[in-house]
């Protein structure tokens, strides 16, 4: 018996639960993260947290539909948005407000979507990013086509695709890992392991010790990062994206975090989830952690904190106003965009509907 292959999975963290950073600020700056960046990280995470809170309130008052908040995932989602280049393509799931906002999607576009209006996915800035994706893990296959297109055209671009811990059980996830490995494509897979797939805990989703090891089945490297640590997430993602851009192929990052909210506004997590577990998770969450770090190290002033809070609230409110002021699309829009040109049969159905 002879050993023919060996693999190992690593876990990394930069800013720990006690808000201690394990590298110096100078080293951090050398790796591209400056003081202002840290403040911007905080601003984005806070913005999204305020946006999430607002969106849930809008749902409760019937002004949008079911909403999937990213409470607890702000760090990894922000890190993705910050490390991607404009010309890269982001392939989201449905819990990625932070990343989309950083990519250019307007908050009113997000609200339109959750408000049941597909104009929300007609992104005006990040026009090549894929829309939100609901059928779990199916987006992974799209990332393969996008990564292949980059390779075919010899463009130094990267596709970043996310899915959840639950998503790693789907065939599409794995078919994509295998294809990415086969063609050595410039794709970064980010598994946002928030410990739950609706009511199914991570332990019942897979017998694997880590989800990062799924990458081994694709023939490339996977690793874990503390998903509540925005600095660690940023550094790891930057590495992975740079490496993919340089032609070194795909990479998988499992970001370990926690879904602090219900699955969506249609869910009641107290049915299946321990209060103690949730309480513990709140102690590890990313926004407070970064804030503590910034405050403890005098990197931010009380005044700055306040003004950021206010700017974020105003931005969210402004987007809500724009959303609420948007008129519902005409009935004809149902028939438009089915095909580039509306076929005769659809024209007939539309005419019938409009005369009724």
């Amino acid at each position: 018996m002879e050993t023919v292959a060996k693999f190992d999975i690593s876990y990394s963290q930069s800013l720990n639960v006690s808000a201690q950073l394990n590298i110096s600020l100078e080293q951090l700056a050398a790796r591209g993260i400056n003081h202002e960046d840290l403040i911007e990280f905080y601003r984005t995470m806070l913005l999204v947290r305020i946006f999430d809170t607002k969106a849930i309130a809008l749902q409760r008052t019937g002004r949008i539909g079911t909403y999937a908040s990213c409470l607890g995932q702000e760090a990894i989602s922000t890190a993705i948005g910050n490390t991607m280049a404009a010309e890269d393509v982001f392939i989201p799931g449905y819990r990625d407000a932070a990343t989309l906002i950083l990519r250019g999607t307007k908050m009113e576009e997000l609200l339109l979507y959750w408000g049941g209006d597909s104009r929300g996915m007609n992104f005006s800035i990040n026009t090549q990013d894929l829309p939100y994706n609901v059928p779990i893990a199916s987006q992974c296959c799209h990332s393969i086509g996008i990564g292949y297109a980059f390779k075919l055209r010899q463009q130094p671009r990267v596709a970043v695709v996310v899915c959840g811990d639950g998503g790693t059980s789907e065939g599409d996830f794995y078919e994509s890992l295998n294809a990415a490995g086969t063609w050595n494509l410039p794709i970064v897979f980010v598994v946002i392991n928030n410990q739950w797939a609706i009511s199914v805990p991570r332990s019942k989703q897979s017998g694997c010790k880590t989800l990062a090891q799924k990458a081994i089945a694709g023939g490339f490297k996977g690793e874990q990062v503390d998903g509540n640590d925005i600095i660690g997430c940023h550094l790891k993602l930057q590495q992975a994206i740079d490496s993919a851009r340089a032609g070194n192929g795909p990479h998988l990052i499992e970001a370990i975090c926690y879904r602090l909210g219900d699955h969506t506004t249609a869910d009641d997590a107290s049915r299946y989830r321990d209060a103690a577990e949730l309480e513990q998770a709140w102690k590890e969450e990313p926004v407070a952690r970064l804030k503590t770090f910034l405050v403890e190290n005098q990197l931010i002033t009380e005044q700055q904190l306040e003004s950021i809070q206010q700017q974020c609230s105003e931005a969210v409110e402004a987007s809500v106003e724009k959303y609420l002021a948007t008129e519902t699309e005409a009935v004809s829009s149902i028939f438009e965009h089915m095909y580039q040109e509306m076929p005769a049969g659809l024209r007939q159905q539309l005419a019938q509907l409009e005369t009724q």
Binding site: T66, G116, I136, E170, Q205, I334, F335, L346, Q349
Partner: protein, 325 residues
């Protein structure tokens, strides 16, 4: 005799059958502790244990494919697909395996499984949560497709589906999961899987529908009655195999037929009903067969979904035109 909503009847049927038949197992995403996202499997795990009622990993092809394996071992899996919009990944296992195992082995192995899924629109749900693609399943030889439209029928049809020795796709109209309650004797009585239910006798026109659209169809029948039009209303219920006899007899009596369905129009189940009449009942027809249905479009996001779903007014208009023909 308890009052039950449709979803409670679904739950009661599974609970009843698990109690009397050890070979019944329930599986799917979130069916255990959570009792299903609509609570269809509420309390079943507490009653029957974690081995017989279990959460699967998030993988629909697995759910259907492992059910084929469970059934080949003599168990009776009742698997839930969380929404019909996520059933497609399981389609390969349905059409290549569940529907063919008996045929391919000349009866040696069989596939007594049920694949339940909430279906249909009208609840302001996100994308992919409002599908009504029953026609796709109704074209697959070897399976049954069943859609209940009331608590009592949900109870009796689901029991029948679980007891049936062949695979059944059981689609639950989620818009009416909690729309009405009725007395359902939780007595283990199944309903037949091969006949339509005539919900209302009438002599002027036959209205055929299934699932949640029967709500609007019955309301339209009431409105038509006020105008002196006496509509017969048929709940198709068993979409596949279809009960041609009841349909043809009714149309022979009324001479007119309007079919109401929320599915996309082209190639829907309504087309099959229409074709049956055009083939075997043409001479009884006094007017064209009209389909009041969804459009040949994607179900729009929910702001516009009401413009997609057939309305009572549309049914009444269609019937009036047919009557005036």
């Amino acid at each position: 005799m308890p009052e039950m909503t449709l979803i409670e009847a679904v739950n009661a049927a599974m609970s009843y059958e698990m109690g009397v038949d050890e070979s019944v197992v329930v599986l799917g995403e979130d069916v255990g502790t959570n009792g299903g996202v609509f609570r269809a499997t509420d309390n079943l795990q507490q009653q029957y244990g974690e081995m017989r009622v279990f959460d699967t990993p998030l993988a629909e092809s697995l759910i259907c494919g492992m059910s084929v394996g469970l059934a080949a071992q003599g168990l009776k899996p009742v698997a839930e697909i969380q929404f019909m919009g996520f059933i497609y990944a399981a389609f390969d296992q349905i059409i290549c395996h569940a529907s063919r195992m008996r045929n391919r082995t000349r009866g040696r192995l069989t596939c007594p499984m049920v694949l339940r899924a909430p279906y249909g629109g009208g609840i302001h749900a996100p994308e992919h949560h409002s599908e009504s693609t029953e026609a796709i399943f109704a074209h697959v030889p070897g399976i049954r497709v069943v859609i209940p439209s009331s608590p009592a029928r949900a109870y009796g049809l689901l029991l029948a589906a679980i007891r049936d020795p062949d695979p059944v796709v059981f689609l639950e109209p989620k818009r009416i999961y909690r729309a009405q309650s009725e007395m359902v004797a939780d007595d283990g009585q199944a309903l037949p899987l091969d006949v339509c239910f005539t919900l209302r006798q009438g002599s002027d026109i036959t209205l055929i529908s299934w699932g949640a659209m029967l709500l609007e169809t019955m309301q339209a029948a009431d409105a038509l009655a006020e105008r002196g039009i006496d509509a017969e209303v048929i709940d198709l219920a068993t979409i596949k195999p279809i009960d041609k006899a009841t349909i043809l007899q009714s149309v022979e009596k009324t001479g007119r037929c309007v079919i109401v369905s929320e599915a996309a129009k082209s190639g829907g189940v309504a087309a099959e009903i229409s074709a049956i009449i055009a083939e075997e009942g043409l001479t009884t027809l006094l007017a064209p067969i009209v389909r009041v249905s969804g459009h040949d479009t994607v179900m729009p996001m929910f702001k516009l979904e009401q413009k997609y779903m057939p309305s009572v007014a549309q049914i009444v208009t269609a019937v009036s035109k047919v009557m005036e023909f």
